[in-house]
Amino acid sequence: MIDHSHSHGGGHSHGHDHGGDGASLPRLSFEWLDVGKLRGVDKRRWLGGAAVLWVLSGLYIVSADQQAVVTRFGAVVEPRVMPGIHYALPWPVDSVTKLKVRQLQRRVIGGEAPDTVLGRLQPLASQFLTGDQNILHLRVVTQYSVAVPADYLFRSADVAQLTGAVVESELARRIARRTVDSVLTTEKAAIQEEVRAGAQKVLNEYAAGVLLASVNIESATPPPEAADAFRDVASARADAARIVNEAQGYANDVIPKARGEAQQLLEAAQGYKLRKVNEAQGDAARFTQVAAEYGRAADVNGRRIYAEAMEEILPRIKKLIVDSRGNLDLTIIRKGDGPAAKP
């Protein structure tokens, strides 16, 4: 990321390996120091060309993803040079340092970094203590970029280490104020944002020139020694949800059925009412009609209706006809007797 390109391209022109007579220089002789040996025209051309190259070597390009800092004898003169072609005084006066300001850098806190060569596990490094004195294993990845190039370059000895330490301390503090459940479930996002904001504030106090892009809790797991108990809580939660769902299912089944049943009752009652009223009206109409006719010849009709009814009734039943003037011997009624008529 840091590209120390001291603009000294033209500097070589001072050296002895330059110039038209380089091949003829004798070893271990100081003759070449005698600039007077050069002819006047050659000397001027030599020095002029060198001077032009030296001046031109101050040109430098800052590419689109970079910003540059220019220092003069070590002191910052241009704290932030934006992309483009620029000029700085040549070596050894000015020095240009280019930085890829937008490039995000990663720092892993807790847990084992995925890019460690040895792949060692660091169980202690990942342990955090929650407010309710539970131990949690966390792996947090923070990403940062350059906010102020000059500060980033010159204010701290090891930006990555400083950023890591600040984020870690903020993280430890936030975790220590929460319960294990909130860390594992609901408040992950809130913790991430609080840590990012808190760490950014501290880094600003240090003038580290760092912009924290994100703090991301990649994994938060209970220690292996208690992992199964935590899993059981999760399954208990699932169990609870399941039985609640089942009950909900029961309710969803029972209530519509009850509504159907109620509707059925109401419809049946309506039907019953209609039937009763219709029947009554029918019967009444019939009766009214018949009664009107009956009224015209009550005696005859009465007798006819009576006779018709008797015709219908009497064939079905056992009959004993007794003389109204004689006594009746009830012993004649015996079980199993078929219908019989006795004079």
């Binding site: 000895a157 330490a165 939660r237 169990d239 039985i243 009950a247 019967d283």
Partner: protein, 296 residues
Amino acid sequence: MIPERYQRYVPAAGFVVGLLLMWQTFYAVRETEFVLVTQFGRPVYTVTSAGLHAKWFFQNATFFDKRLRVYNPRPSEFLTRDKKNLVIESYVAWRIEDPKRFVETVGDPVAAEMRLHDIVWSGLSASLGTHDLEAIISPNVEAVKAGSMLDALASTTGRSALAEYGIRVVDVRIKRLNLPEQNKQSVYARMRAERERIARQYRAEGEEQALSIRADADRQRDEIVSAAYKEAEKTKGEGDAEATRVYSQAYSKNPRFYKLLRTLESYKKIFDDKTTAILSSDSELLKVLMRGESAQ
């Protein structure tokens, strides 16, 4: 005097000597550095501003890194006021502030860190000894005073360190809180017990909720069905009443005929094949049977 055959090297040699003198006189101080100028080993003055500076060629410039450094003391165990052990990992952000003092007392950063370790350790130890564990870790935000406690620690530590060693402690922060290794097993046991309790609670609460949902459903069902029953019976009653009204209205126009019809209707239903009727020959129906036409 210089022999003639070397005369022509004089300008070049002078140039070289001039360069060496310039090299010894001018020096660039970077933004990241302090320079302590010493004369025959004795500190003369300190340069704090970056840029090109000059000194006498017989003086020496020693460069010191003035950038902020992070020092991580080893994790150590501390005792809180309520006699609980805590393993604390901290970091110290520090930098050299007074190079003269620094070079006189500690000399190099490694030695400085050893001093810092002692200062921070005793500071933390004293500070934690006046706080309960609750004040450092607790889900209760009000109870946690760790932040203010450490700010105080940083400022006191900073002052003492500066005065003695020419360094400035910018910040001391707790990076990690942990419990001692020998307490871990009991902590895990407690965590397990706590989880088991929570799991039981979840299951019981689920059961509770399920039961109440079921009971509520049953209640709703009974409510719906009984309300419908009430309504249905009312409707039926209305039907019956209406029917009765219609009947009575019609029948009361000719009660005698109704009586006849209804009586005959009843007979039809009352008498079946198990009925034995004893009929008097005097009866209306049989009069003719017995006595012929005259009976009319």
